[in-house]
Symmetry: C2
Subunit: 254 residues, 2 copies
């Protein structure tokens, strides 16, 4: 009765599709699962129901569920292990290193640098901060600075700005840890899903030069990055200034 013949079921769904501008079944499945990640129904590290269970629940075939899941695996939102199941991705050290940290040693060595917080304050955003984080008038931000070290040598200065709305009490209870994305996820339920980085070459300011113990005017790589959560809203604006004499930024193309 539920699904007597393929033909009638298809037609029924297609009528819905027209309302939603030709959304396919696997896109619907994708959106349902995505929404459950946004709503924290399934949390990072959780195992999802098997393909067969999902297919039964959503009244589609296993192949349709599979296509939706594989699409999300390609976006790094999920990962799969043959013989075990499908899991929600976590912001582990390894993921931070390979997905969201592009600075490596001149020889290609990948290390996530240690960090020290310099200052932290809650403020009304500057016009630029408000624009980058797409905030409404009057919404507050948390802004802080930190230095990052490779092998105890200070190399990067970061200025990080967060919408206070999503990070209540940030920095007041405890020192934010080195892996911020993991901290956002564990303490605030916010998963970073993608980011766009803008790079320029700039000169070290007098202040930066003092902090990093380098000459004023030394060329530095500026990485200007807005990170977004699962629903696409921006949740972090970070500007990093990096001394690239012993390190480099890497990017694959094609």
């Amino acid at each position: 009765m539920k699904q007597k013949s393929m033909h009638s079921a298809d037609k029924e769904i297609r009528i819905n599709d027209r309302k939603k501008l030709t959304q396919t079944k696997y896109q619907k499945v994708d959106n349902i699962i995505r929404q459950r990640l946004i709503d924290n129904v399934w949390k990072p590290g959780d195992i999802l129901p098997s393909e067969i269970q999902l297919a039964a629940e959503l009244n589609v075939s296993q192949g349709t569920v599979r296509k939706a899941l594989n699409d999300m695996v390609a976006e790094h939102l999920l990962f799969r292990q043959q013989g075990i199941g499908t899991f929600v991705s976590e912001h582990t050290e390894r993921r931070a290193l390979f997905l969201y940290f592009s600075i490596v040693g001149n020889d290609g060595t990948r290390i996530l640098p240690e960090s020290t917080i310099l200052s932290c304050e809650e403020k009304l955003p500057s016009p630029l901060e408000q624009a980058r984080l797409e905030l409404n008038d009057g919404e507050m931000v948390v802004r802080f600075h930190r230095i990052r070290y490779f092998d105890n040598i200070s190399t990067i200065i970061e200025t990080i700005c967060l919408p206070l709305e999503h990070f209540p009490g940030f920095g007041s209870e405890m020192e934010p840890p080195n892996n911020l994305f993991r901290f956002y996820q564990l303490s605030y339920g916010i998963t970073i899903a993608k980011a766009e980085e803008h790079l320029k070459a700039v000169s070290a300011s007098a202040e930066e030069a003092t902090i990093l113990n380098i000459d004023e005017g030394t060329p530095m790589l500026e990485i200007d990055r807005v990170a977004r959560m699962l629903d696409g809203r921006p949740v972090e604006w970070r500007v990093s200034h990096c001394d690239t004499r012993n390190y480099k930024y890497i990017s694959e193309r094609g």
Copy 2:
């Protein structure tokens, strides 16, 4: 007779798989098609046989061919148009702009800059050039310099090094055009399939400062890139120095 039952055909193939360390059918199909691209059996712009024809030729199902083709579409080697067919990708202006050129205006505008060749010579490679291009001892290179202009304002200085073996007579017959990748493809049958970029911040040398009409020591973004062809061998080493005061390098993450 050819394929009487699914079971026996599967077993036969699986024996071959064990020899090749468990290569799947769609991977074999992928490799066959990839090799035909390398061998220029199907050239850029060509339309491939339909999925059904390929499936019949290779003795697999349409779904297996589809998976192989879709994997190659994800690598930008092919593209598909519903109702028409599957095509071999070309290095068009548009592809160069979105896939292999990451410099945009401060407002995000994408333009491919014009170029002027400064000098061009055939030489024995420096040790660094030999290493980057993975050349054997004694193999020659073509090295040339060019300036690139946005709106007639010189902004980028490039040093480009090519293995002479793959580019006989390069630069001697005619001035290489602005879109080099397209030129490599049309004139030498070499398709660039991927590239790795290494970025640093450096200071403008006296020579660069003169050529670009900027101050010596101005911070410049250095883009060090090795481009590889379909079989993975390196065919171009390019170092670009870019004045990023009015432009920026962009990169998507996640």
